[in-house]
């Protein structure tokens, strides 16, 4: 089987599943689940076959012309290299386990057909982004992924909250995509091509063509999709969607698409652009970590945690690339940014999906109770969930050696230390805060005694929910070690990630250990196990208020929309009603009507009048024949 066919099947299997679901299975939940799960399994099997047998690791590209508009040609093609193989593995692997989880989690939902159809469409769109070999194709699938996200966030049709959240997600993404599109156009204009390989060649020979503006505009797409500041506001609201969606889209894959894109187009970023990218990441990481402390909803805490970790990834890319530019003598130095960010993306996909699925298990068991202060004592009722959740918490806190997150965060902190001291201090502080708020979540929700009736009645979830948790837990713990991954993927993971050596190695271990363990211990001390109220809220209200304010981003945007944008929209609407509807449309209709009315008056019914008209015509015709109009009519 040649690679092109295999990749096409991987890309199109979920689309076919979605199409079949739409035609056959909109009301038949079992069939929809089978189709969707089958497509996910196909993707996983084919991907594993690729990595273990079918693909030798060398870069593979295939493309066909799709659309030609004048001198512009849009291609459709696949580019399979180290980076896309890694991303493909993550999407296929995590995607499959989440599909399995959804089968169990959504068993009492009435619209399962629509849900699984949307899930398959999302897989199709995400795989399109992963495999795309040029910017235009990637942009098309970028938008498709945004649409799938919109559709799935708004899955619960009867809540207003979900509709608002889906709208917000789509609109905020659109703002980012606007800059993205302009960046793509500038890239095309400068280089004459949008194919990644060709771009890389041209940049190699003429590096002076790359401008900071180009890189920053392309980064706007990352701002939207990966929820960096200031376009981060949609991600917490997106938790209104079902939990498997939060896990798959808003933790593991879609929000990581921005980071993946940075990896794909790393050569289009100048040093100034990389500085800005790094600092945007750092600021996002720090701010989100601060905001997580005032949240009560388990999913919202995880959402802010995702924001923070995405900031880490983006910062890792920026700082790693800067490190590679200045200190790179190894031949992989160019790729340090990609390595650091993609490594963290991988481990984050595992442990964040695990945490979300775990929270889903808890929510399902507590009959849709999401406030952590109303949980508590779940360790007795749901031991497996608690165990796997603990694994996830350890992973995200970055406890040395037993957490995948340790290795990846380690790499990022190392490049931060080497590139920018302020960034290093901020990121280390954020690591401490991360451990702190995740510990808060764990201790309040899982330990202690139950705080409400729904927590009392919780019980362990069925195997379709627990099995994915176990698998992901194994990867969350062991994901830092190379042997967990197929050989063909170890290039990225092994050689592209910057490793500290010697003295630096020990320093990093100590810093990580301190940050994570002190964070967890502090959480236990400050909040206590199974607490019913937030102690910090009681004792330090100003601190709590700053955290809860989330720096007023939503309020500022709301003010802007209501006062500025709506007013402008009203003016435009008025002009539209007046000129376009009124003058142009109704006006032209009125002119036609006027002509009709005038013509109608000619039908007097009196024959004599008609004869007079005859005579007039005769006179005109005679004048024409006599050459009277020769000067006027040529």
């Amino acid at each position: 089987m040649d690679l092109g066919t295999v990749l096409s099947v991987i890309l199109l299997a979920p689309l076919v599943a979605a199409g079949l679901i739409w035609i056959l299975a909109r009301q038949r939940a079992a069939l929809a689940m089978t189709l969707s799960l089958g497509a996910a399994a196909t993707i996983l099997c084919l991907s594993l076959w690729l990595f273990f047998a079918g693909w030798d690791g060398s870069a593979f590209e295939i493309s066909t012309e799709w659309l030609t508009l004048g001198s512009l040609t849009l291609d459709v093609g696949f580019l399979l290299n180290d980076l896309s193989a890694l991303m493909l593995f993550i999407v296929a692997f995590v995607g499959f386990w989440i599909h399995l989880f959804s089968v169990g989690y959504m068993n009492d939902d009435k619209a399962r057909g629509r849900f699984f159809g949307g899930l398959s469409i999302f897989m199709f769109s995400m795989l399109g982004i992963v495999l795309a070999n040029n910017l235009f194709m990637m942009f098309i699938f970028w938008e498709l992924v945004g649409f799938s996200s919109y559709m799935l966030i708004g899955h619960y049709l009867d809540t207003d909250e979900a509709a608002q959240a889906s709208k917000k997600a789509f609109i905020v993404n659109r703002v980012g995509d606007f800059g993205f599109l302009i960046g793509i156009i500038i890239t095309y204009w400068t280089f004459g091509t949008v194919n990644f390989n060709e771009l890389r060649e041209v940049v190699g020979t003429q590096p002076q063509l790359v401008t900071t503006l180009m890189g920053l505009l392309l980064f706007c797409g990352v701002l939207g999709k990966s929820a960096q500041m200031p376009l981060h506001v949609w991600l917490p609201d997106a938790m209104a969607g079902p939990t498997p969606i939060s896990a798959l889209i808003h933790a593991a894959t879609m929000v990581a698409a921005g980071v993946y894109f940075l990896g794909r187009s790393f050569f289009l970023f100048t040093e100034e652009a990389l500085h800005i990218v790094a600092w945007v990441g750092v600021v996002t990481a720090v701010s989100a970590a601060l905001w997580a402390f005032a949240q009560r909803d388990i999913k919202k805490i995880l959402a802010y945690s995702t924001l923070s970790q995405l900031g880490y990834m983006v910062a890792g890319f920026g700082l790693g690339s800067l490190y590679g530019l200045h200190h790179g003598d190894a031949h992989n130095a160019l790729y340090y940014g990609i390595g650091a960010s993609m490594f963290h993306l991988t481990t984050h996909a595992f442990f964040k999906a695990l945490l979300f699925l775990g929270s889903g298990s808890v929510i399902h068991a507590c009959h849709h109770e999401q406030d952590i202060f109303k949980m508590g004592g779940l360790w007795k009722k749901m031991p497996l969930t608690t165990l796997t959740f603990a694994a996830g918490v350890i992973a995200i806190a970055g406890v040395p050696f037993i957490a995948a997150g340790f290795f990846s965060k380690d790499a990022i902190l190392y490049v931060a230390m080497k590139s920018s001291q302020p960034a290093f201090y901020l990121l280390t502080g954020t690591a401490l805060l991360t451990a702190l708020y995740m510990g808060r979540l764990f201790f309040i929700a899982f330990l202690g005694k139950p705080n409400s009736a729904s927590a009392e009645h919780a019980h362990e979830s069925p195997w379709t929910i627990v099995l994915p948790l176990l698998v992901l837990a194994v990867f969350s713990i062991g994901g830092g070690y190379m042997i967990m991954y197929p050989v063909t993927l170890q290039e990225v993971m092994g050689h592209w990630v910057p490793h500290p050596h010697g003295k630096d190695h020990t320093t990093m271990i100590i810093i990580s250990a301190v940050a994570s363990i002190i964070g967890l211990v502090l959480a236990r001390i400050i909040y206590g196990a199974g607490a019913a109220t937030d102690k910090v809220e009681k004792t330090l209200p100003p601190v709590f208020a700053i955290s809860r304010s989330r720096f007023y981003f939503d309020e500022i945007y709301g003010y802007y929309v209501k006062k500025v944008q709506d007013r402008l929209a009203d003016v435009v609407a008025f002009l539209d009603t007046l000129f376009i509807s009124g003058v142009l449309v109704r006006g032209s209709a009125a002119v036609a009507g006027l002509l009709g009315v005038t013509a109608r008056r000619l039908h007097t019914g009196s024959v004599s009048t008609y004869v007079w008209w005859f005579f007039a015509g005769l006179v005109l015709f005679g004048a024409y024949a006599g050459g009277f109009f020769d000067g006027i009519i040529q």
Binding site: H603, T604, G605, S606, V607, F615
Partner: protein
């Protein structure tokens, strides 16, 4: 004076103008119809005159005359049909005044 083509032509034009004058002026449908016939006969006079004067030696020009033959036949049909319509109109409105027959209006 030699009677030339222009004289016959002018008589035809005059007859046509008189016919048209009648169509414009009169209100009785029948009289209007008669004036219409006058116009038609003016045109056949012109045709025959042209046919006669353009005859070249050796080849007689019959086109105009044949045309007139057809016109006479068609005029007969037209009068028949037109008069039957007028009769039908009279049955409906009990009048043949043109100003009374004005129902096909806006």
């Amino acid at each position: 004076m030699i009677i030339g083509l222009e004289h016959y032509f002018f008589v035809s034009v005059l007859l046509f103008a008189i016919g048209f004058f009648g169509v414009l002026l009169r209100k009785n449908t029948l009289v209007v119809f008669m004036c219409l016939e006058l116009m038609l006969s003016a045109s056949i006079l012109a045709l025959i005159a042209f046919s006669r004067y353009h005859t070249t030696p050796g080849q007689g020009l019959m086109e105009g005359n044949i045309f007139v033959l057809f016109i006479i036949a068609i005029a007969a049909c037209e009068v028949a049909v037109g008069l039957s319509i007028i009769v039908a109109l009279w049955r409906r409105n009990q009048t043949v005044e043109l100003s009374e027959i004005n129902e096909l209006k806006h």
